[in-house]
Structure formats: C-alpha cells, structure tokens
C-alpha cells in the first residue's frame, strides 16, 4: 500500500497490444450492398448465401442501435468502418502451414498460440482468425477421421452447404436485433463445428480471434452443431492491439444440441480494454445463443470477460428439448473506465428443463459492471427449475455494480432460486495477507481468485491456469 507503484503495472498490463506489420487488403469503408457483395465474392460464396446476407441488410435499414444496456456508448459511425480486412494476397486459405506468412505464425506464437505442428498444444485443435479471415486450422485431418468437421465457416459454406443452410440463423433469427442483423449481413469469418452422432470429440476445439487492422470491425460468425449423443468442448480467445480509437467486434454465435448431446462453450475474452483514461478499446457487442433442441441435451456457457472498453453480451439457452439443461458461468472483470453489461437468458420451453446461473462481477477503478439476466418459464415447462447466483465484488469506491435479474413465469410447477451478494475487498483483508508476506497485488489476486474460483474451475484444464493469471493481470494497478 505504501510503495505499490501503479506505473509498474500499466506498462506490462496488456501484453497483447502489439500490431503485426503486415500489409492488408481492405474493402472500401462503408456499409452498403456493394460492400456486402464484395465480401461474399471474396469468400467465393454461393448465391444463396449472398441472398441471405442481402435480405439481412434490407432489414437492417429499418433497425436502430439498441439503447437499453447500462453503458455509455459513443455513437458508432457505421459508414466510417472497414467491414473486411485480410492480409494482402490472401486469396485462398493456405493449404498447409508452410504457405502461411511467417509474420502471421509469429503473431500467434507471440499470443501463446503456436500453430506449427511440432509446437501445437497437445489435445487442443486451433482455428486462427486474423481480422476477417481464418489463417490456419490445426488437427483438421485428425478430426476428419472421426467425422468431426472443424473449419472456418467460410469453408463450411462451400463444402457443407446443407448443414450451414439448415442451421445458420436457426437460433439467432436474422432479424433478432440491430447487431445480430448487422452481423448476418457482413459476417466475415469464424468457426464451424459439426460433431456427428455418438461422437465424443477427443480434443478441445478452439478459435483464436485477433483484430489487427485499424478502423476495422470484426464480425465473427460461429456455428456449432452437436448431433445426437455427441459431446464437444469449445473455447474461444480474443485479443487486439492497443489503439486510440474504439473498434467494433459484433459476433454471432449459434449452438445447436440435438438429443442427448452436450456442448460446453468457453470464452476467455481479452480484447484491448482501452487505456487507464478510458481511451480506445474494443466495443464487444456479441450475440450468443444456444438451442437445446433435443431431449436430454445440455449447453453450458463459461465466460471470463476481462477485456473490451464495453462488453455487451448475454450467452443464452433456449431449452426446448424435454429434460434439457442450460448453464451459464461467468466472471466479468472491469477496471479503469471499462463497462460491462452481461448476463444470460434461460428460456424454459420443455418439461423438466433445468438451468443454473453463476455470475461473478468484479469492478475496480471507475468502471461499471452490470449483470442482466432473464429466466423465463413457458406454460409447457412443467417442473422446470432454475438456480441463479449473482455475486458482485467491488475494489475501491469509485466503481459501480448492478444486478438486474428478471423472471417470467407462466408455469405453475416450476421453481426459481435466486441468491445475490455484494461485497468489497477490505483493507483489513489486504493487510492480513500482506502481514503474511504477500505483496498488495498478490493479496488482491488471492482474494479475487477466491471470489471467482467456482467459475474458473469450469474452464477446460488447459486454460484454467491462464485464466487465473488473466484475472490477476486485469486488476493490476487497482490497489493503492
């Protein structure tokens, strides 16, 4: 407390803030039919996909930006953004890693995601998305052998049109809300996963999103389908360079679990949060929704949200199949001037459906952190159950935490349990730990990690330790 220097921390705080010096090719700024046609052409898309995009764009013209989030958002000039950026001469995704620009490989290496065969993380297949294109996917062949499809969505549109056609937009309707519709019109790349009947995917699948180009929006689209009796665990990570302007990331993620299938979706979101004065940072406006379509299916969202200037996302579950289960485990950390408005929707449609929500919000600095949730039981959701626990931890006295849990209940046999706490890291706790030899940062990190351990434990083992470190790093500079 006496000698903790804030300067030491802000220096190394966001270690992913570097820019890869690589020539990029962009479609001219602006949002119009020509831009959408160009994106579609760049991706070599079939006619039906272009039509789908254009119909979304038509709808968009009559929609406006949603205003209800508890966040102060500067007006976004949608005509002043680039909607597509790829490394120069990147006509087609390289067939092998030898053809990938070494600068790109180096970038991912620096991010801790080695893509070269001899160095890859054992047990984890990675799809690496750089601005608007996927640059490499590891373990693809190995997964192919058991029928698992793991590839960029642009590739799936060409190679597996029947699956994409059937499921894209089936969970998040094209007209859902402004950003979902915008994404449908201009989406660039993201991952596609299909797990065939009865297959338990033997490795973690993960996508690593990197925004590099300036003034560019990233519009990721991910679609995961778990066929009957299958299982998959998927993880996404995100980083971006430090830039003074705000950048937009508007993703759509759709999950579909058929009978007896299970999807575990984890996010470690570490987009550039802006500097300590609130300048720059990513606007992270994301729509994530899972459909438990079949009976006994299960979808579980785990998110560690530490980055972005503004985070605005509500990974949700539609529990249509009888006996299906939805879970949401979240740690959202805001520091400095960051704003997060995040939570989930659990829509209970089927009989005996269950949902569980554990949300841990940690606010420090002058930040604002809101949990917003909806638990809804429809008439036919007999014996549906929900458990919700929302805990907020305040670090310092200038930050804000809000909890907005909504419920709608049309089923008389259902039950909802809700618990909420708000606590503060006290000077007494910090002093106690320091008296035992931990410095101020270590002491705070111990207390915060204790607070969110329940959620961190839900992450795949390979990432749990990293996430723990990230939690500590995100709060650096907030003690003092």
């Amino acid at each position: 407390m006496n000698k903790v220097s804030k300067d030491n921390f802000t220096q190394e705080k966001y270690k992913y803030g570097f820019v890869t010096e690589i020539e990029s090719e962009k479609i001219p700024k602006g949002l119009n039919e020509d831009v959408i046609k160009l994106i579609s052409k760049k991706k070599n898309e079939p006619e039906w996909m272009l039509e789908w995009r254009l119909s979304a764009f038509k709808r968009l013209e009559n929609m406006s930006v949603p205003k209800w989030a508890k966040a102060e958002i500067d007006e976004i000039e949608f005509q002043d953004l680039y909607y597509y950026s790829s490394p120069k001469d990147f006509k087609e995704k390289p067939k092998s890693l030898d053809e990938v620009d070494p600068k790109l490989l180096e970038t991912y290496e620096k991010l801790g995601i080695p893509l070269k065969e001899q160095k890859v993380l054992a047990g984890v297949a990675v799809d690496a998305v750089f601005d608007s294109v996927s640059v490499a996917t590891t373990f693809k062949e190995k997964l192919n052998e058991i029928g698992v499809i793991f590839c960029p969505i642009s590739e799936a549109i060409q190679k597996h049109p029947e699956l994409v056609k059937k499921y894209i937009g089936s969970v998040i309707p094209v007209t859902d809300h402004f950003y979902a519709t915008l994404n449908s019109a201009v989406f660039s790349d993201g991952s596609f996963v299909y797990i065939p009947k009865g297959v338990k995917c033997p490795m973690e699948l993960s996508t690593y999103f990197r925004i590099n180009a300036s003034e560019t929006g990233q519009f990721e689209r991910t679609l995961i389908i778990a066929d009957e009796g299958s299982y998959v665990s998927y993880l996404e990570g995100c980083t971006a360079p430090m830039r003074d302007e705000n950048q937009l990331h508007a993703a759509n993620v759709e999950l579909v679990a058929l009978d007896d299938a299970e999807i575990k979706y984890s996010t470690v979101q570490n987009w550039y949060p802006g500097d300590e004065n609130g300048k720059g940072g990513i606007y992270n406006f994301v729509t994530k929704r899972g459909l438990c379509k079949g009976k006994n299916s299960k979808i579980s969202w785990t998110q560690i949200e530490t980055g972005s200037a503004i985070t605005w996302k509500y990974p949700s579950c539609i529990l249509r199949g009888d006996n299906s289960t939805g879970e949401f485990y979240s740690v959202a950390i805001t520091n400095n001037y960051q704003q997060a408005d995040t939570g989930t929707k659990m829509i209970h449609l089927g009989k005996n459906t269950k949902s569980r929500i554990i949300s841990k919000g940690i606010s420090a600095g002058k930040s604002s952190n809101t949990y917003r949730g909806l638990v809804s039981f429809h008439k036919k959701a007999k014996n549906a159950k929900n458990f919700t626990q929302c805990d907020s931890l305040l670090v310092g006295s200038e930050c804000k935490a809000n909890t907005i849990p909504l419920t709608e209940n049309s089923s008389n046999s259902s039950s909802i349990e809700h618990e909420a706490t708000t606590s503060k890291i006290s000077d007494e706790q910090l002093f106690y730990c320091m008296q035992r030899g931990l410095d101020a940062e270590e002491a705070q990190s111990l207390i915060v990690n204790g607070f969110c351990k329940e959620v961190l434990q839900k992450l795949p083992m390979e990432f749990a330790v990293e996430a723990q470190k990230l939690v500590s790093i995100s709060l650096e500079g907030s003690v003092g």
Binding site: M1, N2, K3, V4, S423, S426, D427, E428, Q429, F431, Y432, C433, M434, Q435, R436, G437, L438, D439, A440, E442, A443, L446, I447, N449, G450, F451, C452, K453, E454
Partner: protein, 242 residues
C-alpha cells in the same frame, strides 16, 4: 534484535504511542499488559505496518535494519509475524491454498523454489496435529465460519509455517477456552528458541502461566510505566492496574 526508540504514533489524529522505548533481545519473551485503550494493540499494528498508523517520530530497528520504511509484506518476509486478535476471513480462498501461498511467498524471498505439493501436505499434517487442528479445516475458506478457537489456532499454525524471528501476539488468548488455551500455549512453547523473540500482548495472567515471560511491561497512556519479571504479572492480576 528489536529496538524501539522514542516512538510516537498517531491514529486518526489522536496520539496513541508517546515516546515509547523498548528493547527486545534474541530469544526473549516480553509480555505487555495494560488496561483497554492503553495503546497495546497499537504497538502491534505499528510494528506490522498497518495503514493509517502514522509514525510521527522515532525509530524501530529489527535485526539491525530500519523497519518503518518497509512495506507490510517486506516486514513479514524479514521475519516479523503478527498474530491477529481478530483474524480476517477470506471467503472463497481455501485455507490449504492460502497457507501454501504464504509459505511460497517466503520461500521465493529466500530464492527457493515453490514447495512441492506432497511435501507441503506432509508438513501441514505434522504441524496441524501439534495444534489439534483437523485436516478438514484446511479445505474450508480461511477463517470463514471458524470458531474463535479455530481462528487463533490457525494463527499459531501460520506462525509455525513461516518460521519468523519476531512474533507479536495480540491477545491470542482471548476467545480460547481452557483446553484450547493449553494446546495453543504448548504449541507456542515448542516454537521458543534462542533465536526467536516474542511480544505477548494480553489482558490476563492466564496465558503467561503457560508461557513464561522474561520481562513484563505495564502499559499506560501510550508508554511503559513499569517493567519487571513474571512476578509483576501476578501482582497486576491480583491488584489491577493502579
């Protein structure tokens, strides 16, 4: 090993310690007794570096080094241990992982590698047994929901694990029943050696019946008014502070 010279301390604009002088030699046990509000706990907190305990003037040297310029954690790493009167709860942090982390912080400062999990468990079992601490206490959250006795024993356990050279006990005897007091005192007595010094802050004689002090200081209005041997403690117990 500890020299306190003309120490003046203010807390929330009120002067609590007034020209305090105290010398503690290696291996000595000093008891500090005094009525409520005499400034006993303030010594403990000042030595440990608690924020808002402002040193107006004076000097403190621990093992020949200036103590007051150091951060609280550095004082700990330099061998100062304060057993809290009211140990603090850390919800969500399991006792075992907490203990391991503080042990490792001390090892790190000695440039040693982190302790191996198996070895740590072995040491933890051994030392817990000495204090009659059941192992399942370590899977609970630090001090959260602990009884008064459990909290105090947990303090003594940490003392044992961190191997300090100066131990300050702030009313460690309060909240202990007779059995717990005896177990705790036995464990503390095992920690006595020629290199290690103690400051025992207490209201009552009873802890001093188990742990025999070399010196007893009577505290009033922020300074020592009388110093004697253990018989002074008995006299105060009978006659009160006059």
């Amino acid at each position: 090993m500890l020299e306190i010279k003309n120490l003046n301390v203010t807390v929330e604009e009120k002067q609590i310690l007034k020209n305090l002088n105290l010398n503690i030699g290696k291996g000595e046990i000093h008891a500090i007794m005094g009525p409520n509000g005499s400034g006993k706990s303030t010594i403990a907190h000042t030595l440990a570096g608690k924020p808002n305990y402002n040193v107006d003037s004076g000097e403190v040297n621990l093992n020949g080094e200036d103590l007051l310029s150091k951060d609280p954690y550095e004082r700990s790493l330099n061998g100062l241990f304060l057993a809290f009167q009211y140990p603090i709860e850390l919800p969500g942090v399991t006792n075992a992982s907490y203990l391991k982390q503080i042990v490792n912080a001390h090892r790190k400062s000695r440039k040693e590698t982190p302790i191996d999990a198996g070895e740590f468990l072995k040491i933890l079992k051994e030392k817990s047994k000495l204090l009659d601490i059941p192992m399942d206490m370590h899977s609970r959250f630090v001090n959260a929901g602990f009884s008064g006795g459990e909290k105090k024993k947990n303090e003594v356990l940490q003392m044992d694990l961190l191997n300090p050279s100066l131990i300050i006990m702030d009313e460690t005897d309060s909240g202990l029943d007779v059995d717990a007091l005896k177990t705790t005192a036995d464990a503390i007595n095992k920690l006595r050696n020629d290199e290690r010094s103690f400051i025992i802050i207490t209201h009552y004689l009873r802890l001093l019946e188990y742990i025999e002090p070399d010196y007893v200081h009577v505290f009033q209005n922020g300074s020592v008014i009388e110093t004697g041997d253990k018989t002074l403690a008995s006299r105060i117990d009978q006659e009160g502070y006059s």
